[in-house]
């Protein structure tokens, strides 16, 4: 490559950026009493145990009106869209349990 006649190298970007413009936070709950909560078990070995303890604390200390549990088929699988859609209707908030 000659140094005399090459002044500019035009490259095509091999990278992309995360498209986060459609991601937003859900509104924060203003209080916990009487709320409906979903507990999502990611199927790791201790996730269920962790969520059992969380459920006990929620029940005893915060007076949740309803606790719904769901276990993913595999830790590495995203939660099924149908579950998210259902929880939007039946839960006020959700807690994800991760345990290994």
């Amino acid at each position: 490559m000659s140094t005399d006649n090459v002044q500019k190298l035009v490259l095509i970007a091999p990278v992309n950026e995360a498209q986060t413009e459609h991601s937003t936070y859900a509104p924060r709950p203003t209080g916990l009493h009487g709320k409906r909560v979903g507990l999502l078990d990611n199927s790791k070995g201790n996730a269920g145990h962790f969520l059992d303890m969380v459920a006990a604390i929620l029940h005893e200390q915060y007076g949740f009106s309803n606790i719904i549990r769901h276990q993913k088929p595999s830790a590495s699988k995203p939660v099924a869209p149908a579950v998210i859609e259902e929880w939007q209707k039946v839960c006020d908030l959700a807690i994800v349990g991760v345990g290994d």
Partner: protein, 365 residues
């Protein structure tokens, strides 16, 4: 600084020493974080354009994505990464097919590209394109020395890193990884095989070309130069398939626990002499799969002692066995490797089928 030119391409203009000196340009690519640790060919608009010509698709077309990471992959980005990997333009359709395959939902790329389990993605190329592109399917199958294998496999890894955020230390959390994460591409040897090619077994028409992608561990060589019967050769292969410590002979991370262990998929690459021994006795691939599925199992006691299941060994555990795979079709028989030498290879999947299943996808030439 990236910007879009009047044709919508994301272009970067580099001036100064990097524009004049090829080595300086490569160093510039290193500084952008674009490489796998090895030098790359700078993806100039001219070089990428040659690939786009071969692909015959709109450069802005989105091939798929990793929605959990908000990443979406375009034809142009795949072409740029293929250039960087050292591919020839005629390899482009195979690279594009491989990218489309790993972005299918059942492959669940977010799992194997992130897991501690250290998955590589084996890319098996099938059909006439193997000979057309001189993709190696014989001696030194998993080793170096052939441009198509080395660069096509590398292109897939660069796509993962540069467009799917599978960056070591960021989303790629492998504990060990393996050398196949640099490049892991082989051809299926249809020419010397007595069997139906894998992609035809998996639904592609005979005479067409395709790729199969498989999230998996590294290959474990199986040597048996004594046995002259299918049962003898396959007994050795079945024993390696059922080794303690693989992803399949373990438990956890899945909701379904009926069988005790996680039930995944496993590839068995059978090279020349083993292939001849098995085929000379009239065994089809189906016969091989059935035999291996039956033989590849361990006792509950063994698996407990090896840490694949929790608990103490109990009465009956020495007699109770667990198969490594749930169904014979979860074993992929691939004819490939040198014609001389009584070797095969066993490649367990990275995880259970519910986490990722292999995908076979057509190559459009």
């Amino acid at each position: 600084m990236a910007q879009e030119d009047d044709q919508g391409m994301a272009v970067l203009e580099v001036t100064g020493r990097e524009a004049a000196d090829p080595v300086a340009a490569i160093e510039w690519c290193y500084r952008q974080g674009w490489t796998d640790g090895l030098p790359v060919i700078p993806p100039t608009d001219e070089r990428v354009g040659a690939f786009l010509t071969e692909i015959k698709r709109n450069r802005d077309e989105v091939l798929g994505g990793v929605p959990e990471r908000r990443r979406f992959v375009t034809v142009e980005q795949v072409a740029a990464n293929a250039v960087m990997a050292g591919c020839l333009p005629e390899y482009a359709p195979v690279v594009v097919a491989a990218v489309e395959a790993i972005l299918q939902p059942v492959f669940n790329l977010v799992g194997p590209s992130a897991s501690l389990g250290g998955s590589g993605i084996l890319l098996v190329v099938h059909g006439p394109v193997v000979e057309q592109l001189q993709i190696n399917c014989r001696n030194n199958l998993f080793g170096p020395g052939n441009r198509a294998n080395a660069t096509i496999g590398r292109a897939l890894r660069l796509v993962l890193m540069n467009t799917c955020a599978a960056i070591p230390g960021l989303f790629d959390r492998s504990c060990l990884g393996h050398p196949g994460k640099y490049s892991y591409c082989i051809g299926e040897n249809a020419q010397d095989s007595p069997w139906v090619p894998l992609h035809v077994e998996r639904g592609c028409a005979a005479g067409t070309s395709a790729v199969t992608v498989f999230a998996c561990e590294g290959p474990r060589q199986v040597r048996n130069s004594v046995s002259q019967t299918p049962e003898g050769v396959l007994t050795t292969i079945a024993d390696v398939m059922s080794s303690l410590g693989t992803s399949l002979v373990t438990s956890g991370s899945v909701a379904e626990t009926t069988t005790g262990t996680r039930q995944g998929e496993i590839a068995v690459v059978i090279a020349g002499e083993h292939m001849q021994t098995i085929a000379q006795h009239g065994w089809s691939k189906r016969d091989v799969r059935r035999y291996l599925a039956e033989q590849a199992r361990r006792t509950v006691a063994d698996i407990k002692r090896g840490g694949g299941l929790r608990g103490e060994v109990e009465p009956g555990d020495e007699q109770t066995t667990i198969p490594i795979v749930a169904h014979p079709d979860d074993i992929f028989i691939i004819a490939a490797g040198g014609n001389e030498g009584a070797m095969s290879a066993v490649i367990p999947s990275w995880g259970p089928k519910v986490s990722s299943t292999a995908v076979t996808w057509p190559v459009t030439l």
